[in-house]
């Protein structure tokens, strides 16, 4: 045990003393906050100058005029994120004059490219019957497109209403058909929205991802370096390869926990310093749910052991960082998978696909935490399917992690002394069987 502790202490202090450790402590949260907050900020950025657009009205019933009027009127009082629109020019064109239409479009296309305007819109004849309206733009702005759709729909509704037998003012009909957006709540009555749940889960996955990748690579590099500098032979003449490997894995794990611990302390510090940061209750509901936090810590540890032993495996069979890159790809992909699938999991946390994927050991730590944060269980009860599945997930992935450690231990003791040629798969299998 003394030797194990010596290795552990050496690995721990080597990492913690490095500048990159301090940089990691600062940069990782900056990065995480960056990827979660910046998109929201950009989406809700206030827009000061109006966006310019042009209209081609080939319908010939003054639709263009009413459209631009309606768009001018449309403005919510307190919403600064709402764009305003300015009509640059309105062209009334004969629908049969395709030549003029085409040349106009060419002119407007180049205006778009020169950023003289953001959109142009074309109304073809008989729009109310054949939906033949077109919006042209370089961007895919779904908010603007929805707004334009609404204005045009209202105008067309008025035209249709005119032709019908219904004898009512247009405004009251529009008021009657007003659409609403439902507030979303989880069972138990907690309100939340898609973005908070998505980013809550995203933060959990990213912490696992960043911890595993960064510390896994540190571990792998240290093994490769010890192989290259040939100090490995001195080490294994003093400690058993397994002691060495576990000393490294746990030593770096401690460094990792230290880093996360520092984040938590800073986070609590900021949180309790009132006014410094305001955490919306929905975010707090996802992130500070004690059940989720406990599962998260457990899954983080399991993921750490599982993946770092894979990195130790790779380090022990490779001779250079370059060689190891090929093997990193599958590991990084299996860690990225949950991020790609997160959109789906947030929408379908209970589907068979989600359940099955989250019970595959290499995905369990990340997928299960994503499902947990979407479903957000309030009480710990094994009768609750998600708690049951998460608990099964803990056991399966822990077993798999132990298996990885075992198999890596078998490979490690041979691989660390093999210089030169990288072993082939049959050779690796043979190593596992060596006595």
């Amino acid at each position: 045990m003394y030797k194990f502790w010596t290795v552990l202490k050496a690995e721990y202090s080597q990492v913690v003393k490095k500048k990159s450790f301090i940089v990691g402590i600062i940069l990782t949260p900056v990065f995480l906050i960056g990827v979660t907050i910046i998109p929201t900020l950009l989406a809700t950025k206030s827009i000061s100058s109006p966006e310019r657009y042009a209209l081609i009205d080939a319908d010939g019933r003054g639709l263009g005029e009413s459209f631009s009027e309606a768009l001018k009127r449309y403005k919510l009082d307190d919403d600064t994120t709402q764009a305003t629109y300015k009509l640059t020019s309105l062209y009334e064109v004969d629908a049969n004059d395709t030549k003029r239409l085409d040349s106009l479009r060419l002119v407007l296309d180049s205006a778009l490219l020169l950023k003289q305007m953001k959109y142009y819109v074309i109304f073809y004849p008989n729009v109310e019957n054949n939906d033949s309206a077109l919006m042209v733009s370089k961007s895919l702005n779904f908010k603007t497109s929805a707004r334009f759709d609404r204005r045009l729909s209202d105008i067309l509704a008025a035209i249709r209403l005119d032709r019908s037998d219904i004898n009512l003012p247009v405004d009251s009909v529009l008021a009657m058909t007003r659409r609403i957006e439902m507030i979303q709540e989880s069972p138990g009555g907690k309100s939340r929205d898609f973005m908070t749940v998505y980013f809550g889960a995203f933060i959990f996955i990213m912490i696992v991802f960043v911890s595993v990748i960064s510390f896994g690579q540190v571990l792998m590099r240290s093994v490769i370096e010890e192989k290259n500098s040939r100090i490995m032979e001195v080490l294994v003449s003093s400690v058993s390869p397994f002691q060495l490997m576990m000393g490294k894995v746990i030593g770096l794990g401690m460094a990792n926990l230290t880093q996360i611990g520092i984040w938590v302390v800073i986070g609590i510090g900021l949180f309790s310093f009132r006014g410094a940061v305001e955490i919306p209750s929905q975010v707090a509901g996802v992130v500070f749910n004690p059940i989720i936090v406990v599962y998260f810590v457990v899954f983080l540890i399991i993921a750490y052991l599982m993946y770092t032993s894979m990195f130790a495996f790779i380090g022990s069979i490779c001779n250079s960082d370059k060689e190891s890159q090929n093997f990193l790809f599958p590991i990084i992909m299996s860690l990225m998978m949950p991020i790609f699938l997160l959109m789906y999991i947030v929408q379908e946390p209970d589907s068979t696909v989600s359940v099955v994927l989250s019970l595959i050991p290499i995905f369990t730590p990340t997928m299960m935490i994503a499902r947990l944060s979407v479903i957000g269980p309030d009480t710990f009860s094994l009768a609750d399917p998600i708690i049951m599945e998460a608990t099964i997930g803990v056991f399966l992935s822990a077993l798999f992690a132990l298996f990885m450690i075992w198999i890596t231990g078998r490979i490690f003791r041979i691989g660390i002394l093999m210089y030169g040629k990288r072993p082939t798969l049959p050779e690796i299998i043979k190593w596992v069987r060596y006595k």
């Binding site: 003394y2 050496a10 500098s229 040939r230 003449s237 003093s238 058993s240 002394l417 060596y434």
Partner: protein
């Protein structure tokens, strides 16, 4: 034979190559034991099996009448053929870490660090990083790390490779001191002249097999004084054609002549003196190199290394 360290029928095969073939070895306590043989003879593989870094396919390693175990790791000092240290650590940190891995308390090691660094002329570098040292200095540092835990038995693979003559002298003195303290030293080398000057016992290995072993005196006595140590001024090319000379080995600054009939040595001396100035002409036992050639065949070895005789 009842040695302190014993190898019994050790065999190791890598693929189709039999690296070590049924090797028996017996190293007595308190001696300097040289394992010699050309490159690729199986010396390093044998040492790795002693260190339990490689597991023999068959055979046993016995230390102090027991199979080697985890405790053995703490009382052995091992210098592998391929040297290496942590480049980014300071000398003090490296010595401390590697010493603690031998289960010696850090405080105890701290006490030993400075005297050792002083002895190896590295005192001023104590808190510098290993990468700041020259290669020769790193070798000495590695030698310190091998001995810092005061091992009972010291195993040195290709001990002198990469060292200059001054440092070789320094390390030789340390080894002789260790022997005085009753430590057992086993080292391997492919430069046989070194072994000849240092060892009490030798074992010659070729192609994984032992070809000869015993105390240096025994081995030499078996071959009698049938050789001549010759130092001359001028070209020695003609020596091969002298009658009564079986074989000429050209070391860097002297020749060794194997004679077919020792009684004709005066005649040979006269013949040489006619052509060149003789500085030294001495009847000796054959060198280990020549003994090796006699037992293993001339094709078993590469010619002696340049500069080897400077040792």
């Amino acid at each position: 034979m009842n040695g302190y360290l014993q190898l019994q029928g050790i065999t190791k095969q890598f693929g189709d190559t039999l690296a070590v073939d049924n090797l028996d070895l017996s190293v007595p306590q308190g001696c300097i034991y040289g394992m010699i043989g050309p490159n690729g003879a199986g010396k390093t593989t044998t040492i790795r099996m002693i260190m339990n870094i490689l597991v023999p396919d068959s055979g046993k390693v016995i230390f102090n009448d027991k199979a080697t175990d985890a405790d053995f790791k703490n009382i052995v000092g091992y210098l592998p053929e391929e040297r290496g240290l942590y480049k980014k650590m300071t000398l003090r940190e490296v010595i401390l870490y590697l010493g603690q891995l031998k289960e010696v308390p850090g405080k105890e090691i701290e006490k030993r660090i400075e005297p050792w660094l002083e002895r190896m002329n590295l005192g001023e570098y104590k808190n510098q990083k290993v990468e700041a040292l020259s290669k020769g200095m790193q070798q000495k540092l590695q030698f310190i790390t091998t001995l810092i835990h005061d091992p009972e038995i010291i195993i040195l693979d290709e001990l002198f490779s990469g060292l200059d003559p001054i440092n070789i002298e320094l390390i030789k003195n340390v080894i002789l001191d260790l022997k005085k303290q009753g430590r057992t030293i086993l080292f391997s080398t492919h430069v046989m002249e070194q072994a000849e000057k240092l060892c009490d016992y030798i074992c010659m290995i070729n192609r994984g097999k032992k070809v000869l072993d015993g105390s240096l005196k025994e081995v030499k006595d078996n071959y009698g004084k049938n050789s001549i140590h010759l130092e001359i001024d001028g070209d020695g090319a003609f020596l091969n054609s002298l009658p009564g000379v079986d074989q000429v080995t050209n070391f860097t600054n002297y020749f060794e002549l194997a004679l077919s009939d020792v009684s004709r040595s005066n005649e040979i001396l006269r013949a040489i003196a006619e052509k060149v100035t003789v500085n030294r002409f001495e009847r000796i036992s054959p060198s280990l190199y020549n003994i090796f050639i006699q037992v293993a065949g001339a094709d078993a070895v590469n010619p002696p290394e340049k500069g080897a005789a400077d040792v």
